[in-house]
């Protein structure tokens, strides 16, 4: 039963459907084992945006406050898209490579251990 309601066949309104975001989709980006940032960040971006733009123009504003961010080697960074290993194509749009509305991208940089090597 999708909900226990007094109204038969009750359907909830999906508040976060993509149409509500004025042409954008929401993409979350998190940096594993870097707890300086308390959570992954949420970004409203056009589905047509290229991965390169997301990486180099959208996310640095917040992530660059970490002193290791400038040392990230994007060639060797490992990515997860919605929990699955993922190899991003830099010049392809988010949508065309399966980065959809409310997808979560996580990047992993095992060689960077965080502030004081503590995963911060």
């Amino acid at each position: 039963m999708p909900v226990n309601a007094i109204t038969p066949d009750y359907k909830g309104e999906v508040l976060d459907k993509q149409e509500n975001f004025n042409g954008n989709q929401v993409v979350y980006v998190g940096w594993d084992h870097h707890m300086m940032f308390c959570a992954a960040f949420a970004y409203p971006v056009p589905p047509e945006m290229s991965f390169k733009t997301l990486l180099h123009e959208v996310i640095p504003e917040a992530f660059s406050l970490h002193e290791e961010f400038s040392s990230v080697n994007w060639e060797t960074t490992e990515w997860l898209l919605d929990g699955q290993p993922f190899i991003p194509q830099m010049d392809v749009s988010l949508k065309e490579q399966g980065v959809n509305h409310k997808s979560l991208l996580r990047f992993q940089t095992p060689e960077l251990k965080g502030f004081q090597n503590a995963g911060v």
């Binding site: 039963m1 999708p2 909900v3 226990n4 309601a5 007094i6 009750y10 359907k11 909830g12 309104e13 999906v14 508040l15 976060d16 459907k17 509500n20 975001f21 004025n22 954008n24 929401v26 979350y28 998190g30 594993d32 084992h33 707890m35 300086m36 940032f37 308390c38 959570a39 992954a40 960040f41 949420a42 970004y43 409203p44 996310i59 504003e61 917040a62 406050l65 919605d82 929990g83 959809n100 509305h101 409310k102 997808s103 979560l104 996580r106 965080g114 502030f115 004081q116 503590a118 995963g119 911060v120």
Partner: protein, 499 residues
């Protein structure tokens, strides 16, 4: 002359005798909410009234308490009681209370008024009606207790407006909305039993003893005045669960599912209390971990042993919750510290003494995982770059808390869970929150997630500053940002004559 009634007769006439039989109308139509949750009630007369209080003695009793309470509020105010708090940082704890907790008392009043109409048994109706009145009294007296602070400190001015809008206040608000949108029996297990009976000690005791330890007479006095009400509410919570479990064995799995859900939701909600105890009280009472052990593991453990004879088990996720006591306060205060530009109160780096106190209280986790975060914050502050996060966080669809919780066995890794429902993906901070969603997705697809609402343009804008100032009505630079150099701190120094 009419004979005066003895107490027993009076009680019967003023409670049970208020009911009537339905001779020409269908009883089911009078109580339409009673069956859809699947709970089976075979005999309402088996309900044992927990309060044994008639309305006239209730009024008399409450009026006496009120008189004493307001006498103390007046004295507090006339004697500039705010000058006696331990440190101006303390006042931020009661800003959270007024914006996050007091409006829940109002929601409890609404919720109990609703179920006080909908139960078929008159004993349960009368008990819920009285609790409803208590809750209304609590919200009023809390507002009065804290109104004195509003004259001298920032951040108290728009508490109810903020409760409906501010990102972190959607956590307590949606918790109660969830309970109130459920059927009457689930509401009673959620609020009457799980919250009032088991978890209330972890909300009330920390705030009230925190007030006592930090010289806040107004809030302490409110606490004493509410104590006898809380004792009655606990009795009602216990009566509800026993009654449901004794009425029909088919009720057991339904009640167990609600216990699992509401203990999880309750423990998530209490994260803010954990952070308050460990980080916001200048004079500490005990650590969150200690409070959790005393009030949940010992007291709650005994209760669940008692309920085992009905076939009720410890709440699901109890093992995860046990591990979380080592972590959640640190993870939460770090979140607020790094979002101090968007909070309705001040944040700060713990002092060196406080950091040492935390190491001592959390020997397994603090130095290893959390002290480095504060070392980083200190370093950045010393370089003149006080750390404020520059993007909005991902939120959990169920509890609406930023996804700040880590895997408990891997505390430097955020815990990510997700599910796809009708083609849309939903994210959760934990297995508990994910299971709750998957059980009733049509309910939680409606979550009003503040970050997404901002993106949709429903909260003003275009910038975060516009959202904070116009939609949330925060006074930027006064209500928010670091405690250091805040107007609150400057005024305090002026009053105390320190440079």
């Amino acid at each position: 002359m009419a004979k005066k009634l003895n107490i027993k007769d009076k009680y019967r006439l003023l409670t049970r005798d208020l009911d009537w039989d339905f001779s020409y109308e269908d009883r089911k139509e009078a109580f339409p909410f009673e069956e859809f949750e699947g709970i089976k009630i075979t005999d309402w007369s088996k309900w044992e009234d927990p309060f044994r209080l008639t309305m006239d003695s209730y009024w008399k009793y409450q009026a006496e308490k009120e008189k004493k309470l307001y006498a103390i509020f007046d004295a507090f105010s006339q004697n500039n009681g705010h000058l006696n708090v331990s440190d101006p940082r303390y006042v931020n704890a009661i800003k959270i209370f007024l914006t996050g907790v007091s409006p829940l008392e109002y929601q409890a009043y609404q919720g109990f008024a609703h179920v006080g109409r909908q139960f078929g048994g008159v004993g349960a109706r009368v008990a819920c009606q009285m609790q409803s009145l208590d809750e209304l009294r609590h919200v009023q007296t809390q507002i009065h207790a804290m109104s004195h602070y509003n004259k001298f400190f920032d951040g108290f001015q728009d508490y109810s407006h903020m409760h409906d809008r501010v990102w972190y206040l959607s956590v307590p608000k949606s918790f109660f909305n969830d309970a109130r949108a459920a059927g009457p029996f689930e509401f009673m297990i959620a609020i009457g039993f799980s919250f009032e009976y088991v978890l209330t000690n972890l909300l009330f005791v920390p705030f009230m003893s925190g007030a006592a330890h930090n010289g806040d007479m107004a809030t302490v006095t409110f606490g004493f005045s509410a104590q006898s009400d809380e004792a009655r509410h606990m009795t009602l919570g216990l009566e509800v669960i026993k009654f449901l479990l004794e009425q029909h064995e088919d009720n057991v799995p339904i009640v167990q599912k609600w216990i699992d859900k509401w203990f999880w939701r309750g423990s998530r909600l209490l994260t803010i209390v954990a952070m308050m105890m460990d980080y916001m009280l200048p004079n500490k009472v005990m650590s969150w971990k200690e409070a959790w052990e005393v009030y949940f593991e010992e007291a709650g453990g005994a209760l669940f042993k008692d309920l085992a004879r009905y076939g009720i088990k410890m709440p699901k996720y109890a093992e995860t919750i046990e591990k979380e006591k080592e972590h959640i306060s640190h993870q939460a205060w770090w979140t607020f510290y790094t979002h101090g530009h968007a909070a309705g109160f001040h944040t700060w780096i713990p002092t060196d003494e406080e950091l040492d106190w935390l190491s001592e209280k959390y020997p397994e986790t603090f130095d290893k995982y959390y002290r480095p975060r504060w070392e980083l914050a200190k370093k950045m502050e010393a370089e003149g770059k006080r750390f404020y996060t520059k993007a909005l966080p991902q939120l959990c669809t169920t509890c609406q808390i930023p996804m700040l919780f880590t895997e408990m066995d891997d505390p430097t890794q955020i815990c990510y869970r997700d599910t796809v429902y009708n083609g849309d993906r939903y994210h959760f901070c934990s297995d508990g929150c994910k299971d709750i969603f998957e059980d009733e997705p049509e309910k939680y697809v409606q979550s009003w997630l503040p970050v997404h609402q901002i993106f949709q343009g429903n909260c003003g804008g275009p910038d975060v500053e516009n959202v904070l100032a116009d939609f949330y009505r925060m006074n930027l630079g006064a209500d928010n940002m670091d405690m250091t150099d805040s107007p609150d701190e400057k005024r305090w120094k002026q009053w105390k004559g320190v440079a």
